[in-house]
Symmetry: C2
Subunit: 439 residues, 2 copies
């Protein structure tokens, strides 16, 4: 399939520039899953397209990478909102999650993928349970994802590691390499040293990244010191895990030494500003982390602590929250923010040719409509993009060269059916949990 996207403004994305570069009167040429040209229209090579997408002046940019989420938790949207974290987990979330079924996880994943596609997310990094269901949903929807089975281990049985290994063996590089698999120890506090050592060895064996919650709350940080005599990042380092690609979610309670350690080792920070505020975990020191040279990416976290999967909210919140809490409006630029949402995330997912619009790169592309009242006048496009744009400005989402969403329509998902099925599965799930509670 040969696709031409024309009549667009384009950004190839951001690597290390201080500003987001834009190309006007641009065109993108795609062959199957790969970009073969992205640049000025009048410099494009001769190309016979099977389909032409008229961008109507929209901005083409790399698709967003939602770098930390628990997609099936869409079913638990708004459950236990505004409760303290311990009560939220113990009374609202965990008692319900115990009653998940394969059908529920599939329905929740389909809904989450649909929501992500609608708001321009083209790949996501997930840790949850019943991951075969998630993998099948990713395969069928055309989405891209890095999936891990959340490993909890309080008794050194290491039994949770088995489904994670099975997931690697079954799904890593599956679906035309749209699916990759990570090892996913839940956190320092929810795992034994024994299972962490096995995970380190598996990272060596399978050459897959390690996705883990790190110092999300003050309790994680203080508990880690109490249990291990080390901060959670220092503990991961002591185990040798930081020699492997580590994707560390949250990183809110970080010392300056933790920041320096992560910068030196290249561990990737998965920043979730909405969730961290909403659950009252705190504000990660992202401005400092960026200054120290850390790799920073962004995620929504699960819907139950957000309460949606619209990454544009994180895109606006990341820079402005850092400005507000440091009292310095110059920290965290639009370019750093868009890099966090695209190229840095894409690399962290393990792809060398993802997150930029360049020849040879995978065609994960979104179109942002620029014609809304909230985007005019266009005095500064990069600032408009980060501070004025809405998720609803996404008018096309393409993954792996295939259009999955365009102008309100999904090509691989039946929106009405998916929404109804998820609502039904959520109701059944809450009913099972309620019945068990009263039993």
């Amino acid at each position: 399939m040969r696709t031409r996207i024309t009549n667009i403004i384009m950004t190839p994305g951001v690597t290390n520039e201080a500003h987001i570069p834009f190309v006007y009167d641009a065109e993108i040429l795609i062959e199957d899953s790969l970009i073969i040209y992205a640049g000025k229209r009048d410099e494009a090579p001769v190309f016979e397209a099977d389909q032409t997408i008229d961008g109507n002046g929209a901005l083409a940019m790399p698709g967003l990478c939602n770098m930390h989420t628990h997609t099936p938790m869409t079913l638990l949207r708004s459950i236990g909102s505004d409760l303290p974290l311990d009560r939220w987990l113990n009374e609202a979330i965990w008692p319900v999650e115990k009653h998940l079924t394969d059908d529920a996880v599939r329905a929740g994943t389909d809904l989450g993928i649909m929501e992500m596609l609608r708001y321009g997310t083209t790949s996501f990094n997930d840790m949850y349970m019943r991951m075969d269901m998630e993998a099948e949903a990713v395969r069928d929807s055309g989405m891209r994802a890095l999936l891990g089975h959340g490993v909890v281990d309080f008794d050194e049985s290491c039994s949770d590691l088995l489904p994670n290994i099975a997931l690697i063996e079954k799904w890593n590089h599956a679906a035309d390499d749209r699916i990759r698999v990570a090892l996913a120890p839940h956190s320092e506090g929810a795992t034994t040293q024994k299972v962490m050592e096995k995970i380190r060895d598996a990272a060596e064996t399978y050459k897959v990244p390690v996705h883990v919650h790190v110092s999300e709350t003050r309790l994680d940080y203080e508990g880690g010191i109490e249990r291990r005599g080390l901060t959670p990042p220092q503990y991961l380092d002591k185990l040798g895990l930081l020699e492997y690609p580590v994707l560390a979610a949250h990183c809110v309670w970080f010392t300056d030494e933790d920041i320096e350690l992560f910068a030196r080792k290249g561990a990737v920070i998965l920043h979730n500003p909405v969730s961290n505020l909403k659950l009252a975990s705190g504000v990660a020191p992202i401005a400092k982390m960026l200054k120290a040279g850390c790799k920073v990416t962004i995620g929504t976290d699960g819907v139950a602590s957000n309460n949606n999967l619209n990454l544009w909210e994180e895109i606006k919140l990341m820079p402005m929250l850092q400005k507000g809490v440091t009292l310095d409006p110059t920290v965290v630029s639009p370019a750093q923010t868009i890099a966090a949402a695209t190229s840095v995330g894409a690399k962290a997912l393990g792809y060398d040719n993802l997150g930029l619009l360049k020849p040879g790169y995978l065609a994960d592309i979104i179109l942002m409509d620029l014609s809304g009242a909230h985007m005019a006048p266009c005095n500064d496009l990069e600032s408009n993009l980060v501070y004025s744009a809405q998720g609803s400005d996404v008018v096309m989402t393409m993954v792996h060269g295939k259009v999955l969403y365009r102008n309100g329509e999904f090509t691989t998902l039946d929106a009405k059916l998916v929404t109804e099925r998820a609502s039904k599965e959520a109701a059944l799930l809450l009913e099972r949990a309620e019945k068990a509670k009263n039993a």
Copy 2:
């Protein structure tokens, strides 16, 4: 004109309840500008409607009140983003604003009103210059607004007070009482005591509220103490201004005594969380203020420090920011947030029958589509409304009984023309400023 809105879920809005009440299978009946029934459909009185609006299951709620903005600043969208506040004002904003014209202010106001209507704002509180142009735009668009001419006075000439008084005499209660006028001293730091005393006297004479910036930045707070020996709220109190309705924008740097004083005097806080973060002013202690019994409302501030007029961003940010910085997820409920965005603001605008959907109240009503993937499943509607909803879910905006926006169409504004004119005026404005700079 008799209008029936049917096939809806409805909230009458929030007054003092801990939760947002919802009525299912509801209907609203409107005669001209007033609601005559809002409740269960099967209990509605006999009513012959001239027009019937099918809500398709949407949520009807009171329109939003954007309680602090400078609407024509849409023309300066994204100008000087990420600069330190003094450079932002001195280098980016003020040198441009000097070259505003009547045409520019009108074009910018039209664009801002369009953006606000699209995202469900039905009334706004504004302080700017060339206010006749704003008033005409409000009159012609069908919007509702409280308008003030920003009074600056460094030399005791009090000359800026004259256009503010003229505005009151010409426009207060104009356009079927959709327009009201406030006195608008810019701030303690930008006014003399002499003009503040005249403003207090004018508040008595004209029975209009006083709209003023209070302790927005650390410099405002410390400068106030240096200049007056009092915090800005204490200074307003000493002048007797707090005996009149005071609408105080920002209130970021407030002592516990300032909070107690505002609670006791009933001064209204106009909270602008996006702008306060983006300009690195800080985080207002809203959780404390609400606990102390202060009247809290929300606003976007001008577009140049936001960079849009979508109040749903403030609706989500207000509660989650307070949770995040206090590390307490229980502070600031959805009900308090929706009250701040509707009923509390409406009252502060000076109307006794605005901000709730009740018989005898003005028909400022919006419809929120609930069918998006990001709103499913509906486990908790009030939490979905505050944390999951998008501004783009607004499918109808009615002001004073008249539909001004519905399903992408504006009834009183030509979207294409307004956007083009604003873009043209912005370009001309920046050109004039550039020319003057190089002269």
